[in-house]
Amino acid sequence: MSTGIVTTDLRKTFPVRRWQGWRRRPAAAPVPAVDGLSLRIPPGQVTGLLGLNGAGKTTTIRILSTLLRPSGGTVSVDGLDVVEHAREVRRRINVISGGERMVYDRLTARENLWYFGQLYDVPRARLRVRIGELLDLVGLTEAARLPVERYSRGMRQRLVIARGLINDPAYLLLDEPTLGLDAPIAHQLRALIAQLAADGVGVLLTSHYLAEVEQLCRHVYLIARGSLVAQGSPAQLAGQTVRRHTVRLVLAEADPSVTAALRALAVRHDAELTVDVDDEGRPRFALRHPEDLVGAVVTAVVQQGGAVAGLTVTPPTLEDAILALADPAAVAR
């Protein structure tokens, strides 16, 4: 029996129906939301799942948590198949997603946790202790007897987090859990995630905050259009693309000698140069190179007597790397 969550060649295609004349018919070629994913989420560490909007992150999490049935491939949780042993799998996992849903407005925090504790069949004595611990953990002890409808968004989200921990899950699937949280609370949540992993919980994290991913994840899967495009540690992932500084320069007016000098500079450094005009018809240059060439660019322009109207430098980020890997077409633009 293998431990961890293991997916093999996972696929999910949503049935899409379109109006065709007077009838709704299945679309000819539905696009797969998840397309042949093979991942492993081991216990005791945080695994990242990254991708642009619509890449299939939420769909993947919903399959792992039994809310969706895969159209192909398999998922096993500690050796248990998610389709065949759905109930046993549900006991072992839990999901926290951003957006403070999944709790009852009219119930208090304590009642919410009690209710979900019953659904998860947490032993009575354990549940009593657990509710107190969780309220403490998310800082809601004071507000535990207020109905949730009187909470702020951050407080609600904290309760959502506590709900996700009520069954002491062996695996925790986090779908943008820090969405809408302010900095100190997001910071606390990150500390909590790291602690859970250290205690042996297998965590899957999707997030749009790359700093969060870089800080927490030991292994990251990067997906695009439902397929894996890269994986590795955050550092490895960033290293897989050419990280480049981009120098963007706008000249006050066209000047052939400046253009020639910049072309020569690009050739000399083997840098990528694109030339076009901006909205006001002024010549615009973008120079991409592993090193920051801003000094050389400015020197070349000044030597040829050109006048600089605008200058920006963008350093490389993990975000660039992800964008480059997930959507090469967008970067070329």
Binding site: S65, R90, M102, D105, R106, Y115, Q118, D121
Partner: protein, 273 residues
């Protein structure tokens, strides 16, 4: 099994906490039935005072018995309709996102819908209280064969009602047309179930439609046992039919839950983002 019982109890309590104290519920469960009862009584009364009516329907001869007949109808109807309301509220959990949390859990789905229906029983405890007080003050109207018939009446009302609630819950949580069903089960329900008129006064096709609703037969048993001195032998047909309906409703609920969950697992329909 004990897990399922915990889920039933927790769900009933949650639903109770969610709905209790809502002015709307108070209105629809207390004032509305009383109002309609009064309206029906004073509408029917003049008709019954004509000489021909009591010949066909002996109850009509005595205004107090007529009132008891209508009150029993109002009680059972309010009770069954409270389950429609409860299911309607349950269907909103899909929009609020909590339904997803339920499906994420290992809790038995059947236990959830039964618990949700059972909440209506506690909601209506006071309704039975009022009815009991009214019955006690007008004890001579009641005509009961033996005390065991009270139990029969209660069981014939409560058990099919829970099955009815479980079925409706299963139907409505997966349906986008809950408002339509809500309307469909409001006025037509009291009409076809003989809430305000004796069944024999209705055309055959309505009687047939009415048989599909457990309220109809529950009401026959309730009125027979409490007002007409019927004993078990007299009520064997409606009781048998009720048992069949109950089994059918539970079976239907179970099938709907299975099919519904399989469908949302395929289409992602639980997600309402």
């Amino acid at each position: 099994m004990s897990h399922a019982l915990r889920v039933v109890a927790a769900e009933a309590l949650k639903q109770h906490r969610r709905l209790f104290g809502q002015p709307l519920v108070l209105f629809s469960m207390l004032l509305w039935p009383l109002l309609t009862l009064a309206a029906t009584y004073y509408t029917v009364l003049p008709v019954m005072e004509s000489a021909a009516a009591p010949q066909r329907w002996p109850v009509a001869a005595d205004p107090r018995r007529l009132l008891a007949f209508l009150a029993a109808g109002a009680l059972a109807y309010t009770f069954f309709f409270s389950l429609v309301q409860s299911a309607w509220h349950f269907s909103f959990e899909r929009v609020s996102g909590t339904l997803e949390a339920l499906f994420l859990s290992p809790a038995s789905r059947m236990a959830l819908v039964i618990g949700n229906g059972a909440a209506a029983l506690t909601q209506n405890a006071w309704l039975f209280g009022c009815f009991a007080v009214a019955a006690a003050t007008a004890a001579d109207v009641l005509d009961v064969a033996h005390p065991g018939m009270y139990v029969v009446a209660a069981v014939a009302l409560l058990v099919p009602a829970v099955a009815w609630g479980a079925f409706l819950n299963s139907l409505l949580i997966f349906s986008r047309d809950s408002a339509f069903l809500y309307t469909l089960l409001d006025d037509p329900l009291w009409f076809v179930a003989g809430v305000r008129l004796p069944l024999f006064a209705l055309p055959v096709w309505i009687k047939v439609v009415g048989l599909a609703f457990p309220l109809t037969s529950s009401l026959v048993v309730l009125r027979g046992a409490l007002l007409d001195r019927a004993d078990l032998g007299d009520l064997v047909v409606p009781l048998g039919w009720l048992a069949l309906l109950t089994v059918g409703l539970f079976g239907g609920a179970s099938a709907l839950l299975r099919l519904g969950e399989a469908r949302v697992q395929r289409t992602g329909g639980l997600q309402v983002f």
